[in-house]
């Protein structure tokens, strides 16, 4: 049901520019105003969110340790430096592996129950599907974003040419097919199918989980449509996009409506981003269970709001139990406490 809501919602979104540009000819609004506003919203509110996170302190050093600690005897007990870092550099490596290789998802397992002739069995098996397809999706997305720089820079930097060459190396069709275009759709469809097929994940999925998937899928498909089927006028589009980044906005003639649909959907994605779970992108860098070394036994961590709380004092304790302590032969700091209160 939640998935259906999201799908319908994305359809409606597609219709807006279709009529807005196709019928009402609001090219300036859809081609200039909206994308510029979207970039502004994305930028400002993402920073606002990050700063808001940052304004809460990290009172305690709480890394999740995923391996052997740094021992007093590192030769006898070899530290697992990447999973249980004890200094800044090791923590950076842990974070790089986490952000670039999704290391945690790599260790994912799936749990299953079996009734065997030897009794019940709880089995754990490695489950790397989510890791694989998540990686596929995210890297495809990254490559696609970087490839789009060809529309925003002149001259085009070498790495964009390099990406374009590698991405299209299969030389299928004209214009050549980009592998990332296919793989992002495959990745998205897997993530969607998994959400729908796994009863547990379906149960926890909200509209806000399906919506970004459908939205990004619609962005990808509209882009694919533009490139391979509508065959839009790339030079006119570059004139428009360069107009945006040179602050000389201008709408050239002859741009297909599919372009406006694509740009509209991207703008929605940018504006939705800072208010949604998509903020996991900056958020992963700020997770205290991952971005801190496990060094609290030998390195002081300051809690800015450490409250002034004292333990119940030994003096009060001795007063409370003095007579019994004296009788049991336990030493007393204050011999007067040996007397029962009524005697004193």
């Amino acid at each position: 049901m939640n998935a259906l809501y999201s799908l319908v919602f994305v359809f409606i979104l597609v219709l807006i520019p279709l009529f807005g540009v196709g019928a009402a000819h609001l090219n300036t609004i859809f081609g200039i105003c909206l994308p510029m506003t979207a970039i502004g919203i994305f930028l400002v509110f993402s920073v606002v969110k990050i700063v808001r996170w940052g304004r809460s302190p990290v009172p305690f050093r709480i890394p999740t340790t995923a391996g052997q600690q740094l021992s007093y005897d590192p030769e006898l007990f070899k530290q697992n430096k990447w999973d249980n870092p004890s200094n800044g550099i090791q923590t950076v490596i842990r974070m790089v592996l986490e952000v670039c290789a999704f290391r945690t998802l790599f260790r994912n397992t799936s749990t299953s129950l079996h009734e065997t002739k030897n009794g019940p069995v709880v089995a754990f098996s490695s489950s790397k599907w989510l890791w694989g397809f998540a990686l596929l999706f995210h890297y495809s997305f990254l490559i696609i974003v970087l490839r789009h720089l060809r529309l925003f820079l002149e001259p085009i930097p070498f790495f964009v040419h390099g990406l374009e060459f590698i991405d299209g190396i299969l030389q299928i069709g004209a214009p050549v097919m980009y592998m990332s275009d296919v793989l992002i759709v495959v990745g998205l469809l897997f993530l969607l199918a998994r959400r729908l097929a796994d009863a547990k994940v379906r149960y926890i999925s909200l509209v806000t989980d399906y919506f970004p998937l459908f939205l990004i899928l619609s962005v990808a498909l509209s882009g694919i449509w533009m490139r391979y089927y509508a065959k839009v006028d790339v030079m006119a589009i570059k004139e428009l996009t360069m107009g945006l980044v040179t602050m000389h906005p201008h709408i050239p003639a002859g741009i297909d409506v599919s372009f406006y649909i694509h740009v509209f959907l991207v703008s929605i994605l940018l504006m939705y981003f800072p208010f949604s779970k998509l903020m996991h992108m900056p958020g992963v860098f700020m997770s205290p269970t991952r971005n801190m070394p496990n060094d609290n036994r030998f390195h002081h961590h300051e809690n800015p709001w450490n409250p002034d709380i004292k333990p119940l004092s030994y003096e009060a304790y001795e007063k409370d139990f003095g007579p019994a302590m004296a009788e049991a032969g336990l030493p007393l700091d204050n011999p007067d406490n040996a007397k029962a209160p009524e005697e004193a």
């Binding site: 990050i50 720089l149 980044v245 050239p252």
Partner: protein, 125 residues
């Protein structure tokens, strides 16, 4: 801000990357490249609009027809016939890759593999 330095560095990188296209283009203006059109021919094999957006499709089909199917004659939308040949048809008018093809392809960041097999019209340097 607790660990504010690191957060600010992160934000600067994030904002910097996002705004880099704006920064690199400060003070620049962009115009579509102007092509050097053939002097003695006003009409291409298809209309201007068709050629602008779909030439790659046409060239791809020409290659397949000529090399795989042995079909050497192309009839355009107006019924006019052309020989299917990059060398004898296209390059007859478009005499310079640098002045024609590369103009847009450079800006669009595409490098078609035509010249893996064909010799460009101005010859090899």
């Amino acid at each position: 801000m607790h660990y504010g330095g690191k957060i600010i560095i992160g934000i600067v990188i994030f904002v910097g990357l996002l705004l880099s296209p704006f920064v690199f283009n400060v003070g620049k203006a962009y115009k579509q490249p102007e092509l050097k059109l053939p002097a003695n021919e006003k009409k291409c094999v298809e209309s201007l609009e068709f050629m602008r957006t779909k030439h790659m499709q046409l060239l791809n089909e020409w290659r397949d027809w000529a090399l795989r199917d042995g079909k050497r004659v192309y009839v355009n939308h107006e019924g006019k016939e052309f020989e299917i040949s990059l060398q004898n048809t296209c390059m007859k008018c478009h005499k310079s890759k640098a002045d024609f093809c590369d103009k847009c392809h450079n800006d669009a960041g595409v490098s078609p593999y035509c010249w893996d097999c064909h010799i460009q019209p101005e010859g090899l340097k």
